[in-house]
């Protein structure tokens, strides 16, 4: 009997469209997802990491399928009124429930298997690369540890919800709860799927791993630091937290099932009214009499809308499940706000300003899921409650029904948004922020809410056309996903993805920034599209006569009145016009936007011109510019004059100038040339010189260019013109001379796709400094101030515009960015230098730390290395454009979020603002005093040295112990990023395109050398480097510094320098307790085993130990830990036994307590001895 019932159940699933569609969809998704770049470009598409990743991600999507199948199949007896018949057949509860559960779980498992099958076939069907050897075990592990348990879990959870309350809304709410639970756990566990996880290399906490019902936080957390080799060859190690997670959630689903099973009865829902009190108030006899009706016109429409919406809202708020969803919404976003604002990079936190909270609240994609579920309930309510006959026999028209549904959705979106921004305001208030600005919150109704409303129109349209409820919901989810994640599917253009627009960000300075205005254009376009869709939906809305989609489409095609035709046609014309306008305005190539058109342009540039890179060309020696900024129109105009000098040894016969693709128009005037040969498509201009330019000769070029930086073009953080907070790295956008490597495609896979060879580091052959003088007169709207390189010579105002004339007082490296916004300025004078901080009014909390950091760094560097070359140093704030800060000669452009909004008030933590400012100030030496030759190891002499300076300056202020957390974070970041890169790591002196080498490792290695050789030794080497290699002498290479460092050092120290800077050496340090005895005469005898191992990663061999390693012992008889012992030991063996005599009882011992030695496992560097 059981077999027959199960066969019936499975047959039932087989006949359901939702099951058929889900099976096909998941197979296709599995297939297509292999195209994704999971784990990096070098990770095998059929490797264990990719397979597990895909199966994990798709198993999350099973939540929704599970809910849809559950409502469709498990609740079918109730939906179709079969309960009375089934329940009275004598089928027992265990069999009834068991068969239904088994059917659901088998159906879900089959769908999960098909997804995996898709991912198995994907790489071959789509001819993807790279591929490894096919291993069935990879798929087996992914299936048995992710797909299957997650399918079972989702199924059980939804099934339990269906048993608890056999209603569709309960099951949908349960699915939404599950998803939000996963979302919250992912944020909490710093899942790499969340945008904010980039600088959080540490493994997720145990709790976060346990809370995630899908086990993905464990998987992603564990594999975050995996190497490419591991990702390609190793199945996921079943860690204890992961196993506990799987058992825990399997157990929870079993318990939830058992709990609701115990309460489940094969009875009809008890809806008896016996408990309700009767209304006892009396009403005088009132005979029935007909009343006048008027079922047409505006008043009727309004009354119907009010009544219908009121009723819908009454139904919505009458359901506890939706209140639970609201509560979980608050929880999920509450976790996001708290995690992202209190756990920044390097263990920092932010001020909970309105801007930062609004930035967190802007994306509301979770709401789309809720909309799909709720819209389905709303649209099919009449059908599901069998009220259709009553409703359809009223004079209610289709447009009115449609409008009432849309009005309800609008109010629901409004309420959800209100809850959302109310949460933000509450978070600010609870976290002690005094200044809460309402304006940006209210703007969220438009920026976040309006696209939701458009989506609501789409969802209603889809679910109107598809009369199968569940299929309609699935299709809505698919269309929404393709809109939201369209770029990964190749749908790059916004106008192809419904309700999409360039993503706006929020900053206190620039508001909704670059895309704010363009966003309105896109929203107009989508509003027109939604309007047309609304017309169509009204036509297609089921009425009494046309119920099937085919009938409705047939009827809709034939029933257009002239007015409707005119309106529909008008909307289509406007839509076409708006779309055309957007397409026209957004034409052009944008570097870094990475659209296919941009890639093609870049590839073409390289293919055509790379071969001419060696052409002798003059260099820029003097530059006079006039720059007019028009923030309101998001454009700027630059006109200028170049003085070019032939600094080569050859005659120059042709001047080759290039135009950046972002430049809208360029006019060049080159004296003494023949007709220009122009390649307009690639922006290249060749001017044959009438008289060849002899070595040492100069020539002049005049130009005028206009750049449209409106939101119609992709945002470029280096070329941003916004209402307030413009920032342009001008040297990159004015016409350049010769070949420009910046235009090349960098990504190795993209290069291969476009037939380009892999890029290689080529050492610069010309070792001379080519500095220039720079003068720029910049105008901007009155009220804004401008900061650029050079000394501010003069300011004046004219015709509502403010003018700023800057001029360098000595030749500088060709680097000259500018910023313009409403600034307040703080100025101090120390040691003959003017220190200025330009900041956004109200964001002054970190200004003192910045000021102090600049002064301390300049004082330190001037004393230790060389005098500061300028009379001023200016730090200017720019909006939160990603990154932290950028240094220019005498100027630092400092980004809002990581400098001005970082909460550095907790003195027990490292002050990252102070550190960042020190880093950027250090670049005045390590980029602008010393400019290394371009090529391998270049960044060692800039970024590594700036990182080292940063550590020294911070240590001087906050002490080594506070620095240790910073060094530890760098250590972890180094390993996580190193492991993600498939390219072989280069040693520091050859570092190229491996930021984790020249930033993280560079800082740590130089700090380690400082600890071993002494700070004075390092400073002497740096001083000598400047002495020998600074302008106007020859540019240095990394080896120059290494030679200076080695100097007269003993051999073991020279070896140490070599290990740190010329090899890739990884440590494996350990410390173990051997004995701890209390001495009779007082004090303690502590026996330790110190293990130090190091491997040369390039030669893959263990190296002999000859290192200075620090050992620390802490005691805490009561209160905070007290340092009992700290000593640097020169170790020469892999195992060293150490006996220490201590006055107090030790509680903690550490090897390399400051964490500057590159050690992947820092956990075994510390042993807690207990109280």
């Amino acid at each position: 009997m059981m077999a027959r019932l199960l066969t019936f159940e499975l047959n039932y699933y087989g006949k359901q469209r939702i099951f058929q569609a889900s099976a096909v969809l998941f197979f296709i998704l599995g297939l297509l997802m292999t195209q994704g770049r999971f784990g990096g470009p070098e990770v095998y598409k059929n490797g264990p990491y990719v397979i597990t990743f895909i199966s994990g991600l798709l198993s999350i999507a099973l939540i929704f399928v599970s809910a849809l199948l559950c409502v469709n199949a498990v609740l079918r007896d109730r939906t179709h009124g079969m309960q009375a018949l089934i329940f009275t057949t004598g089928i027992g509860r265990p069999l009834y429930v068991g068969i239904k559960l088994l059917g659901l779980l088998l159906a879900l498992s089959l769908i999960a298997s098909l997804a995996l099958l898709g991912s198995m076939l994907g790489p071959w069907v789509l001819a993807l690369a790279p591929l490894g050897r096919f291993q069935m075990s990879y798929y087996g592990q992914a299936f048995f540890f992710f797909s299957l348990p997650n399918a079972l879990f989702c199924g059980c959870f939804c099934f339990a919800a269906a048993m608890a309350k056999p209603k569709a809304s309960t099951v949908y709410a349960a699915a939404a709860l599950l998803f939000m639970g996963y979302f919250a756990a992912s944020i909490w566990g710093h899942s790499p799927l969340m945008a904010s996880s980039a600088f959080r290399p540490q493994a997720p906490s145990l709790w976060a791993q346990l809370v995630d019902p899908f086990g993905l936080v464990s998987f992603l957390g564990e594999t975050k630091r995996w190497s490419v080799y591991q990702r390609n060859h190793e199945c996921y190690h079943l860690t204890l937290p992961f196993c506990v997670n799987r058992l825990l959630w399997t157990g929870i689903s079993a318990l939830v099932l058992a709990f609701f099973y115990a309460r489940y009865k094969l009875r009809l829902p008890s809806e008896a009214s016996s408990t309700r009190r009767l209304s006892t108030d009396s009403f005088g006899p009132s005979p029935y009499r007909p009343v006048t009706t008027l079922a047409r016109g505006g008043r009727y429409a309004w009354e119907v809308l009010v009544s219908q919406v009121g009723l819908e809202l009454r139904l919505l708020f009458g359901q506890a499940t939706y209140l639970w969803v609201a509560a979980l919404w608050v929880f999920a976003y509450g976790v996001e706000i708290k995690e992202n604002l209190t756990h920044g990079p390097y263990d920092t936190r932010f001020y909970v300003t309105t801007a930062l909270v609004v930035e967190q609240l802007l994306p509301v994609r979770l709401a789309l899921l809720l909309l799909v579920f709720y819209a389905s309930e709303l649209i099919y309510r009449g059908q599901h409650t069998r009220m259709q006959p009553l409703l359809l026999s009223t004079p209610l028209t289709r447009p009115l029904v449609y409008l009432s549904k849309m009005a309800t959705l609008t109010i629901v979106i409004f309420l959800l948004l209100s809850l959302h921004l109310g949460l933000g305001i509450a978070a600010q208030a609870l976290m002690g922020e005094e200044k809460i600005e309402l304006g940006p919150y209210l703007a969220l109704y438009y920026y976040s809410g309006y696209p939701l409303l458009l989506f609501a129109g789409l969802i209603v349209g889809i679910q109107t056309l598809i009369s199968n409820t569940y299929l309609g919901m699935l299709m809505s989810l698919v269309v929404m996903a393709s809109s939201v994640f369209g770029t990964t599917l190749g749908l790059e253009a916004y106008w192809l993805r419904f309700a999409s627009a360039p993503e706006v960000t929020y900053s206190a300075i620039s508001g909704f920034g670059h895309y704010a205005r363009a966003h309105q254009g896109y929203m107009l376009y989508w509003t027109l599209a939604a309007g047309w869709l609304a017309m169509l939906t009204m036509k297609l809305w089921p009425n009494a006569y046309q119920q099937t989609p085919w009938q409705r489409m047939k009827a809709a095609l034939g029933q257009w009145s002239t007015r409707e035709l005119l309106t529909g046609g008008g909307i289509l014309v406007l839509l076409g016009y708006t779309g055309f306008n957007i397409a026209q305005k957004s034409q052009g190539v944008a570097l870094g936007a990475n659209r296919s058109q941009d890639q093609r342009w870049q590839a073409r540039y390289e293919q055509v011109y790379q071969s001419r890179a060696g052409w002798p060309q003059p260099v820029l020696t003097a530059l006079t510019l006039t720059t007019d900024l028009y923030p309101a129109q998001q454009r700027y105009v630059v006109s200028g004059r170049y003085q070019l000098r032939n600094e080569s040894d050859s005659l120059i016969r042709v001047l080759w100038l290039g135009r950046d693709p972002s430049v809208t128009s360029l006019r060049l005037q080159v004296a003494g040339t023949l007709d220009c040969q122009a390649d307009e498509a690639l922006g290249q201009f060749f001017y044959p010189l009438k008289q060849p330019l002899a070595p040492g000769q100069v020539m002049r070029v005049d130009f005028t260019m206009e750049v449209d930086r409106s939101g119609d073009h992709p945002f470029d953080s280096e070329n941003a013109v916004v209402s307030n907070g413009s920032y342009i790295e001008l040297e990159k956008f004015i016409p350049w001379v010769g070949y420009n490597e910046r235009m090349e495609l960098k990504d190795s896979q993209l290069r291969a796709r476009h037939g380009l060879k892999p890029r290689t580091a080529v050492a610069e052959t010309d070792g001379r400094y080519h500095r220039l003088t720079y003068e720029n007169t910049i105008s901007t709207p009155a009220g804004q101030r401008v900061v650029t390189v050079g000394a501010l010579k003069r300011t004046w105002q004219n015709a509502g515009r403010a003018y700023f004339q800057y001029q360098t007082e000595q030749p500088i490296e060709p680097m000259f960015a500018l910023s313009s916004m409403h600034y307040e300025v703080r100025t101090q004078h120390r040691d003959g230098i003017t220190f200025q901080v330009y900041y956004h009014p109200g964001q002054s909390r970190n200004v003192p730390a910045m000021m102090e950091s600049m002064q301390k760094t300049i004082r330190y560097a001037s004393r230790q290395w060389s005098p500061y070359p300028f009379k001023h140093v200016t730090l200017a704030e720019i909006p939160a454009y990603g990154g932290a800060a950028t240094a220019y000669p005498g100027v630092i452009f400092s980004h809002e979020k990581y400098n001005f909004l970082l909460n550095a008030s907790d003195t027990s933590r490292l002050n990252l603002v102070y550190a960042t400012t020190a880093h950027e100030t250090a670049h005045q030496w390590w980029a602008y005093t010393i400019r290394p030759k371009a090529g391998p190891g270049e960044a060692f002499l800039t970024e590594s040295l700036a990182k080292y300076t940063e550590a020294v300056i911070v240590q001087a202020r906050q002490g080594p112990l506070k620095l240790s957390s910073y060094l530890k974070a760098d250590n972890e970041l180094y390993f996580s990023q190193r492991n993600r890169s498939a390219r072989q790591e280069l040693p520091l002196n050859q570092s190229w395109q491996q930021p984790y080498v020249h930033y993280q490792k560079g800082g740590l290695a130089l700090y380690a050398l400082g600890q071993s050789l002494g700070e004075a030794w390092i400073n002497r080497a740096l001083r000598r480097l400047i002495h020998h290699q600074a302008y106007p002498k020859q540019k240095p290479v990394a080896q120059n510094l290494i030679d200076e460092l080695k100097g007269q050092a003993p051999v073991w120290k020279q070896k140490l320098i070599e290990n740190h800077l010329e090899k890739v050496v990884i440590y494996d340090n350990r410390i173990q307790l051997r004995s701890l005895k209390a001495l009779p005469q007082g004090g303690y005898q502590l026996g330790l085993r110190i293990g130090v191992d190091k491997t040369d990663q390039t030669a893959l061999q263990r190296l002999p130990i000859n290192d200075a390693v620090e050992i620390a012992v802490w005691g805490a008889p009561s209160g905070p830990a007290k340092l009992l012992y700290w000593q640097t030991h020169h170790l020469t063996k892999r195992q060293t036994l150490l006996e220490l005599r201590l006055d107090q009882k030790p509680t903690l011992v550490q090897v390399d307590p400051l964490h500057y030695l590159l050690d992947e496992n820092l956990a075994n560097n510390t042993v807690a001895l207990g109280p």
């Binding site: 009214s273 009767l278 007909p290 009343v291 008043r299 009454r314 004079p395």
Partner: protein
Amino acid sequence: MSRLKITGLTKTYSNGLRALDNVSLSVGNGMFGLLGPNGAGKSSLMKILATLLLADQGEISFDGVSINKNPDFLRRQLGYLPQDFGVYPRVSAAVLLDHLAVLKGVSHSGDRKQQIQALLQQTNLYAHRNQAVSTFSGGMRQRFGIAQALLGNPQLLIVDEPTAGLDPQEKNRFHDMLSEIAGRIVVILSTHIIQDVYELCGEMAVLMGGQVLLGGKPAGLIQQLKGKVWQQTLSQEQWASQPAQPPVISTRLVGGHHLIRLFSSGPPPGGGQGVEPSLEDVYFSALAGLQPAKHQLRS
């Protein structure tokens, strides 16, 4: 004067079932009873009249306006109680009636309130007005259906099995209500209860196989059978050995005896007693094909 005119109505479902076959009726104010066995096409006809279903052929007009072309004209003055309907969950009777009244165009809130109160009283739901309709018993829900059908100013009231599930008291109350308003409007009553038609309807039709078999005033139809209905009483043994000779109108087993009603112009061959014809005899004789011809209904 006829207000509702149905001409040549034909409806065939996608599975090939012909639900209505060239049905023509003409109905004026008052109650019109529609009788017929299961599957006769009554509900299809009701749905078509209630503008919920489109006929394949034929024409319906109400007060001279074509309903095929202008269904909203009828919807604005339609009261419809379907055989089976559902309600929104957790919504009280008063609120749901108010909502439906708005949909029907009762825009004056005072009128709406007063009419709803009156209907709640008349359907004996006033004390339950704040209860969710979804929690009502079958009878209460049916009374709610009646109340909603009477909202506004219905000129055509279509009631499909309206008294199913009502206790006798409620049934009488409903009949009184219907009788009271039937003088002013057209009421189409579809039912299996022949007695109800007899008591309430001025006109009636018998539908079978999608066709109108018979129509007219109940009293007139009964009168036509006068002297043609005979009754035989047979014991079980007699029944087994000598089944009644056709034409049989109906048979019933009462107290162990078979009561057989026969249609015959004179005394039947097996003997029998002449009896007064009833509307039941009219109905069954029509179903049995014993009635001579279809009557064209006019009112």
